[in-house]
Subunit: 276 residues, 2 copies
């Protein structure tokens, strides 16, 4: 039975939102709703208009009988800034200060709504670029990597400091921790990244950049290319970072048991803002 | 300017899907679209009908001027079974066998589409129950916990084997690993779970149940109650498990380098199927 336009709109929205970056054909929708392709095309125009008006994302439509639509999520600068401002005021709460100059942020990295927005913002930088896999390191980067991977609709893989029997054969690298100058080791399952992949590195926090540097050597070991580096927060670091190009949402400085949180470089990196 | 019905339907669908279990008021939607509450009510009826027809979830509508709607995601038994069958055939591939009788499944636990379905299935069991927080243990349970938490729209917290300075004060427990019989230790940040929370434990794999037992003692230490235990896969275990009540999607047995994957107990636990 032919499905009404109103019902089609609701279901198509849900269907496309759940499959970012994936081309869904007119033929598929026409069969699903027992409707003419011309009607489906009109529906897609409505979705496209609404997604654009609300800053949900881009609905790329591929014309012709073999065509279809692909939903590419993004966030508008204004909404991103509003979210980052909320994070700044929340992370500036005095009781988040931890001994050693750290800031407690595990609660935020376990809150679905915050993770969704962080993922959307970081994925926006790569909406026109090819990313094959997101790589992070256990433990706290995982929720962020998952959220970014979700919006890019690519797999994510977890690099570990401890070697696990459940990972099978692994490739491991040594790296120097940027802040403590100690030598550490990290490993990634051999079958997790195919050669010639475009790899996006995602982590929660970067100080000296040693961990990210280690991840980058791993990318080389897998004969793959670095697509970019994105972190939730960067810490204050006096020396020369091993990583020069990255995107951060926040910058966190601590001194005398005081927390100072400011926006990271995301306006320049993601939204191309030259004034900041 | 008054927003057209078609555009409202698209945006309301997106808005509600992103906020599971959260009541969104008629007043909010009426203002957002500069439309009459009566029109919004009609829109919600369309969403409700389509969500039900497609097995997306329940749209609970609260009547009256102070009313609104709440989207409660679920999965239908048929779709869950189809997904579990796909997992069974994929995990049965011979090259997933790892020395020691383990099965490689990290790729699946890093695939957004699979994580979404696993989260939906496991969350379906708790659609009518109050869950305040999802608890998992590092590392491989994290993506699953995040997905379940996403559908329940509650925070998730990560228990760790290594104590981390970034977690602040922690509460730790000792537990006996069910399969190796060794004493292990796990810790959870003190500020992560409020007293009297209803806690859902989620993990990727359970063999003897020792880890889950440890997590349950932690729940006690936080003066909280166990809402349930859900795992992606259960292994074969000859002895008496320390955990008697749990939900599993899959059952994995390995012997003589052969992998045998069958459905877990989810049909009984989630869909109340008495015949299996």
């Amino acid at each position: 039975m032919k499905v009404r336009r109103s019902d089609r709109l609701v279901d198509m929205t849900r269907y496309l939102l759940e499959r970012p970056h994936q081309l869904v054909s007119l033929t598929f929708f026409a069969a699903r709703y027992e409707s003419a392709k011309s009607s489906i095309s009109e529906d897609l125009t409505i979705l496209k208009r609404t997604f654009q008006a609300r800053g949900t994302g881009l609905l790329e439509t591929v014309p012709g009988a073999a065509g279809g639509a692909r939903f590419i999520p993004y966030i508008l600068r204004e909404e991103a800034e509003q979210f980052v401002d909320e994070m700044i005021s929340e992370l500036s709460e005095a009781d988040r200060y931890l001994p050693g100059g750290y800031v407690y942020m595990s609660d935020i990295l376990g809150r679905p709504a915050a993770l969704r927005q962080i993922g959307r913002i970081l994925a926006t930088q790569y909406l026109n670029q090819n990313v094959d896999v997101v790589v992070t390191v256990a433990t706290k980067g995982i929720p962020l990597a998952q959220s970014v991977a979700n919006y890019l609709n690519v797999p994510f893989v977890i690099v570990r400091h401890d070697s696990q029997i459940t990972e099978g054969s692994t490739v491991s690298v040594n790296y120097v921790s940027g802040s403590t100058k100690r030598i550490e080791r990290m490993a990634l399952s051999k079958r997790s990244v195919k050669p010639n992949s475009r790899v996006l590195i995602v982590d929660d926090y970067m100080k000296g950049g040693g961990t990210v540097g280690g991840l980058r050597s791993l990318v080389d070991e897998f004969d793959s290319q670095l697509a970019g580096v994105a972190v939730f927060a960067e810490g204050d670091f006096a020396g020369q970072r091993t990583v020069s190009k990255y995107t951060s949402l926040l910058k966190i400085q601590t001194a005398d048991e005081q927390i100072r949180v400011t926006p990271g470089n995301y306006l320049t990196q993601i939204f191309g803002d030259e004034t900041k």
